[in-house]
Symmetry: C2
């Protein structure tokens, strides 16, 4: 896996989509759909005879064989070996997803159940990240991935310094995107900066000065500001430095706070029984910066994105599909949520689920913003 592989995680999927926009006869479409849907369920290459039986097609197996051969020539199906049934190729799935799939909205009871679960949970902390991941993987029987909604760069919003009775001091930093981080301050190295009369008033004064000066700045801007224009009060420099560090760490953290769930579902798929492949996938998930690379794709146009098998240029992902969508407020804080499963994935289930959850989170975030 070369480095360049990581640079462009997704081969331009527009071209893929175009290539898939073929003119198929009605019969070919029916057969392709049947093959995909059967294979998704059974994981077994599907043969012509089985197909007519199971789907009560009004033609004979020989006819289906013809159609299959045509579809194979077009690159939509493939053959594990001469005397085996057909399996959809990545392109076949692509065509299916784009033009064949009957996409159902999530049914009412599913929607209600999901809503109910979210109503039980505080939106403030990370609990709902986990909930989203859990719902997503439970509902699609795939692995799920959720990243928190954050701006690309953390920006200073509002600062508060708190003197605690017996346990030091606390810096509470509200970021421009609404996230909150806190940081304990040691007394060592700080006490002497406060001079004789210590305590909350002095801290408030410092916080207020910094709030005025740092508003909207990112880590680098804060650093520059501290260097170019030395603060008149030493305490401000001290706290400013900590703010800069916190912002920097926040930038790093975007990557680390990714939550995943339901990996078991993937492990249980027959195609990964061997185990070796999973290793590679898990590694990629761990180095979860790969999600970062989806962000440009996702910001270009919103909605649900599907990346199938080899469309994904990360080698380890050649046998899995990703269905994901952005959520959050476009300009400001953007998060990603999605599922990862074998290319043989139940797209008609995964796509609406991802769409619904992204919309639901949007709604909740929006409402939260109104309340505040």
């Amino acid at each position: 896996m070369t480095d360049s592989t990581w640079m462009t995680p997704i081969s331009n999927d527009d071209t893929q989509a175009n290539r898939a926009a073929l003119d198929l006869s009605e019969r070919q479409r029916t057969v392709l759909r049947a093959v995909v849907e059967d294979y998704v369920l059974s994981a077994v290459p599907v043969g012509s005879k089985a197909l007519v039986e199971r789907y009560r097609l009004p033609v004979s197996s020989a006819t289906v064989r013809m159609a299959m051969a045509e579809l194979e020539a077009l690159g939509l199906l493939s053959h594990p070996h001469t005397s085996a049934g057909r399996v959809p190729s990545d392109l076949g799935y692509r065509y299916y997803v784009e033009t064949l799939m009957r996409e159902a909205e999530l049914n009412r009871s599913d929607r209600l159940m999901i809503r109910h679960q979210f109503s039980q949970v505080q939106l403030t902390n990370n609990e709902w990240l986990r909930l989203t991941a859990s719902v997503l993987s439970g509902s699609t029987h795939s692995a799920s991935i959720v990243t928190p909604a954050r701006s690309r760069r953390a920006r200073f919003g509002h600062l508060q310094l708190v003197e605690l009775a017996d346990r030091g001091r606390l810096l509470v930093l509200v970021l421009a995107d609404g996230n909150v981080v806190q940081r304990r301050l040691d007394r060592t190295g700080m006490d002497h900066l406060l001079g004789d009369e210590q305590g909350q008033p002095q801290l408030d004064a410092a916080a207020s000065r910094l709030n005025g000066r740092l508003s909207g700045m990112d880590a680098r801007a804060v650093r520059r500001r501290l260097q170019r224009a030395p603060q008149t009060e030493e305490i401000d420099t001290f706290v400013g430095e900590i703010v800069a560090q916190a912002l920097e760490e926040e930038d790093r953290l975007v990557v680390e706070e990714v939550v995943t769930d339901g990996l078991v579902h993937v492990l249980e798929q027959p195609e990964f029984a061997g185990g070796g492949k999973v290793r590679a996938i898990l590694d990629v998930l761990q180095r979860s910066d790969f999600l970062q690379q989806l962000v440009p794709l996702v910001t270009r146009r919103g909605g649900v994105h599907v990346i199938i098998g080899r469309e994904n240029s990360i080698d380890a992902m050649h046998e899995v599909s990703l269905v994901f969508a952005p959520y959050g407020t476009p300009g400001r804080a953007l998060g990603l949520l999605g599922v990862l499963g074998p290319t043989r994935m139940a797209y008609p289930r995964a796509i609406p689920t991802v769409r619904y959850l992204a919309a639901l989170l949007d709604e909740l975030i929006d409402q939260d913003a109104k309340d505040a």
Copy 2:
């Protein structure tokens, strides 16, 4: 898996330990040690001849066979089938861990590397939980589990209410054990309680009143206090209610914030190649309250605990071992860290690693407390 299984997760391991305190001849001990260590490395049942060769034993294979037969009679070894080599039983591992193992301290370079990694990380947020899990699994090639250090019940420590310029209000609650939670407050339903003159001073006053009254209380106590002695100020009741909710949620959360890492290592072990077994284990880890059940065991006496195979009364765990230790300040906030691997685990590596990390965290927490 009955419910009663969950009630007593660990069959009393003192009895196990006693049964293992057998008088073995020097030869038997040598053979047992060799079998365990060889099997841990190779995962292949080990025969008498291979053993003499690999360990240059000064006796013949026939002699070793005698010893093996004796050990088998004692229940320390077992036989997959008639003509296969020997495999340690759970009891065999137990004996090995208790009296045969040459336990090495972690070597200097390992210790330094670990220390270095921890020096790079803020102790405040959850990042170091992940780091611990990562180091643990990386260093032992097993799955790792880390729970945050928390008191059994969350208790009120110190409260601060912050008015934010444009984004509502923030409640910052420092728990008695030093953890910090924050919570956004909606303006709706709060504004009218503050009367005409709003803003920071009023919030400070309310916080200060509540700090006086709620100090040290757990969720239930706060609730009672609110009901029995109605607050004179309505705003206090409002905020008090939110505090109670936050404490309750905190109590629930202990269970949920467990961090695991390195499951891949377990998946890669040949004994779990089948995949089916892993499913059960992952499920147990997910329902991570099982860790809670180790707490009593661990508080009884500190240090590293080892639970081997069927000593663990949770069915799904019959083929894995747990090596774990508590960390934190005994009376106050207690956390657990440990590794999970096949019973065929490198105990001489796992045990010192767990011990070292527990000690390291103790040290860091201690130092952090001093700084504050």
